[in-house]
Symmetry: C2
Subunit: 361 residues, 2 copies
C-alpha cells in the first residue's frame, strides 16, 4: 500500500496511481485529523469522494503518529492527550475518538487504536502496553459496532451522490455497506507476549489482523523473527497486515511468509530524496556519475519514467531541485514496489519461491 498521508501520494495524481495499478492506499488519520479535519472530510462524503479515489483506502488509527511525532503526550487508560506537531494545539485520541475519526474519514479498512510499544521495553512494560492495546481493541470494536453505519457513504443514497454534480466514482452501490475494522497485535519483541496478544485480539474478533510495533528501531533480524512467529498465531484465511515494512526484498520475503498487506513510506520518501530502487540495486540519482548517463534509470523497468527519460535528465532535475524530480522519482519507485508485489503474487499462484533474490527480477 503506497502511503498517501494527507489524502495524497506526494506529487502523484490519482490517474497516475490508477495507471500504476495501485489497488489500495494508506492514509494517516493523525494527519487528516489535524488537516483538513475529520469533519471536513466527512461532510465531503468521506476520503474516497474527497480525494476522488474509487479504489480501496486504509486508514491507520493515528496511534503510531501520536507516539512518534508528538511531544508532551500523556497516556492514560482513557486514551492519549497530545500536542499537534504543527502548531502545538492540544488534542485527545482514545479508542472511541480514533474510531469516530476513522468512521468519519470513511476508508474501507480502518485500524484499532493501539499503543505502539517503544523499543527497547522491559518485560513488565511490554506486557502492560500489550494489555492496554487489548483493552483498547475491545473498546474500538464496541464503538465501531455501535456506529459503523455512520460512515459517510453509508448515510447517503447512491442516487443522491450521483446527482450531486460531476461523476464521482466513489459511490457505494449498497447503502448498507460498512467498513472493516482490523485488530493490531502488539507485545514488543517477546514471541510469547505476541502469541498472547494475537490470541486475545482474535478472541475479540476482527475480519483482519495487523502486526504492529515493529520497525521501531530493533535489528532487522529481530523484526523478522517476531513477524514469523506472530504470523503462526494469526488465521491464514483472514488478511494479515504487517505495518510499516519495508524494502523491496523485505516485502517479497514477508509476502512469501504469509503476509497479505504491507505499507511503507520508503518508496515515496526515498524517491523524494533521490534514492531509487532498480533491478540492479539502489541508485542515488543525485550522484555526478549520472550527469551524462543516457541510459534508462532501470533498463529492465517498463514504467513511464524509465521508458521516457534518461538518468542524466533525472539527475539534472534532482540536482536542480526541480519539482518534477520528486514526481518522476516517486512514480518509478511506486512502480518498482508494485511490480515486486505482482511478481510475488505470480510466484505464489505458481506455488513456488523465486530462484534468485527478488531484487534481481
Amino acid at each position: 500500500m503506497p502511503v498517501g498521508t494527507l489524502a495524497s501520494v506526494k506529487g502523484v495524481s490519482q490517474d497516475v496511481l490508477e495507471d500504476l495499478g495501485v489497488e489500495i492506499l494508506l492514509s494517516n488519520t493523525y494527519h487528516l485529523f489535524l488537516r483538513p479535519g475529520v469533519e471536513t472530510v466527512r461532510r465531503m462524503g468521506g476520503l474516497h469522494r474527497f480525494m476522488s479515489w474509487d479504489r480501496a483506502i486504509l486508514t491507520d488509527s493515528g496511534g503510531f503518529q501520536v507516539f512518534s511525532l508528538t511531544d508532551l503526550r500523556k497516556v492514560s487508560e482513557e486514551g492519549v492527550a497530545f500536542r499537534s506537531h504543527l502548531d502545538g494545539s492540544s488534542h485527545f485520541l482514545s479508542p472511541e475518538k480514533a474510531m469516530e475519526a476513522q468512521i468519519g474519514l470513511g476508508a474501507d479498512i480502518i485500524m484499532a487504536f493501539d499503543e505502539c510499544t517503544e523499543y527497547p521495553a522491559d518485560a513488565a512494560r511490554a506486557r502492560a502496553s500489550m494489555e492496554l492495546t487489548v483493552r483498547w481493541a475491545e473498546r474500538c470494536k464496541n464503538y465501531f459496532e455501535e456506529h459503523k453505519h455512520d460512515v459517510p457513504w453509508a448515510l447517503k443514497e447512491s442516487a443522491e451522490l450521483r446527482s450531486a454534480g460531476r461523476p464521482r466514482a466513489a459511490v457505494p452501490t449498497r447503502s448498507e455497506a460498512t467498513q472493516a475494522l482490523f485488530g493490531i497485535v502488539q507485545g514488543g519483541m517477546d514471541p510469547e507476549l505476541r502469541r498472547e496478544s494475537a490470541d486475545r485480539t482474535i478472541d475479540i474478533g476482527f475480519p483482519g489482523y495487523a502486526i504492529g510495533g515493529l520497525s521501531v528501531g530493533e535489528p532487522r533480524e529481530l523484526t523478522r523473527e517476531i513477524v514469523l512467529s506472530t504470523l503462526e498465531h494469526l488465521p491464514s484465511d483472514q488478511p494479515r497486515y504487517l505495518m510499516g515494512v519495508g524494502t523491496p526484498d523485505e516485502i517479497a520475503q514477508y509476502a512469501q511468509s504469509g503476509v497479505d498487506m504491507m505499507d511503507c513510506v520508503l518508496p515515496t520518501r526515498a524517491a523524494r530524496h533521490g534514492l531509487l530502487f532498480t533491478s540492479g540495486g539502489k541508485v542515488s540519482i543525485k550522484q555526478a556519475r549520472y550527469a551524462e548517463d543516457e541510459s534508462a534509470l532501470d533498463p529492465a523497468c517498463d514504467c513511464r519514467v524509465c521508458l521516457r527519460y534518461s538518468r542524466a535528465y533525472l539527475r539534472h532535475l534532482y540536482a536542480s531541485n526541480e519539482l518534477l524530480a520528486q514526481v518522476l522519482n516517486t512514480v518509478h519507485n511506486l512502480h518498482f514496489y508494485l511490480a515486486t508485489m505482482r511478481t510475488v503474487r505470480a510466484w505464489i499462484r505458481a506455488g513456488r519461491a523465486p530462484a534468485a533474490g527478488v531484487s534481481q527480477m
Copy 2:
C-alpha cells in the same frame, strides 16, 4: 509558450504537457548555462533529447535573466560579465557566447542576445541601449551563420540517434536542419526609437522578430501602446513574438492585434502560489471559503483537474503544502492558457473578434 526554465515545466511531466496540447516550450539559456551546463546538454544531443520532448522549443538568449537576476554585472561593448545567482561564480555572456550556448542547447528557435533596457530610462540611455542591441544582433547573426551547423542534432545522422537506445522522438529527419534565430526589438518606451530598432533589426534580417524590454515595471497601458506601435513596423508574414506577456486577457488581446507568440511564467508561477485562472475570474485556492466547496475549480473547464477534483480537495492540498497542489494547479492554469489561445485562433480563423471579453469564454 509555457516556461520550462530548467528543461522542465515545474511539476508537470512531458506526457501531461503533450496531453495538454503544448506545441512549444520556452527554456531559459541563463539557467541551463549554470545547471546542468550547455556542454552536458549538447553532449546529450540537445534539449529535445535531454528532456525527451519532440515538439518545439525556444530558448531565450539569457540576456533578460542576466539583467534581472544577477548582481555585480558589468556591461561592455563586448558583452556582460556577471555573477551567478546560485553561487556567485563569475561568468561572461556576449552575443557570440549566447549563440554558442543556444546552438549547443539546440532549441528550434533561438534568440539574439540583447540588452533589456531598464525602466525608466532617459532618452540618451534608451538610444544607447537600443543601438548596443542592434550591434549585438548583427554579431549574433554573424556567429550563428558561421556555426549553425554545430547544432547537436544536425551533427548526427538520424539512424545513429535512432539506434542509440530506446525510442526518442526528437530525431530530426534531415541532418541539414538548423535552428531559427530571431531578432529582438528594443528602444524603451519611445515609439520612434522602437521603430528605428525594428527597421535596423529587419535590415540585419531574421526569420522572426521579438518585442523585448516590456513588462519591466511600466504601466500596462504603456506596454500596450508600445506593442501596438512596434507591431506596425514588423513584417506580418513573419512570426512576431512578444516576450514576457501576460494575463489571459492580455494574451488574447495581443494575439488579436497580430502577436503570434508569447511566453509568460504567470500561469505556472501563479499556480504554485495557489492563484488559478478560471472562466469566472481568478481564484485564490488557499482561501478558507473553499474548504468545503465540492464544485469543480472551473465548471466550464474540461481539464483533467476540473473533471476530477473539487475545490475543497485543491484547497486542502494547497493549505497542507502538498506537492500535488503545485502539480494540479499548474496543469489547470496551463490548460486555461492553452484553451484561451485555441479560442483566439478560432476567432482569427473565423475573421471576427469575440463578442464578450475573453475571460468570459
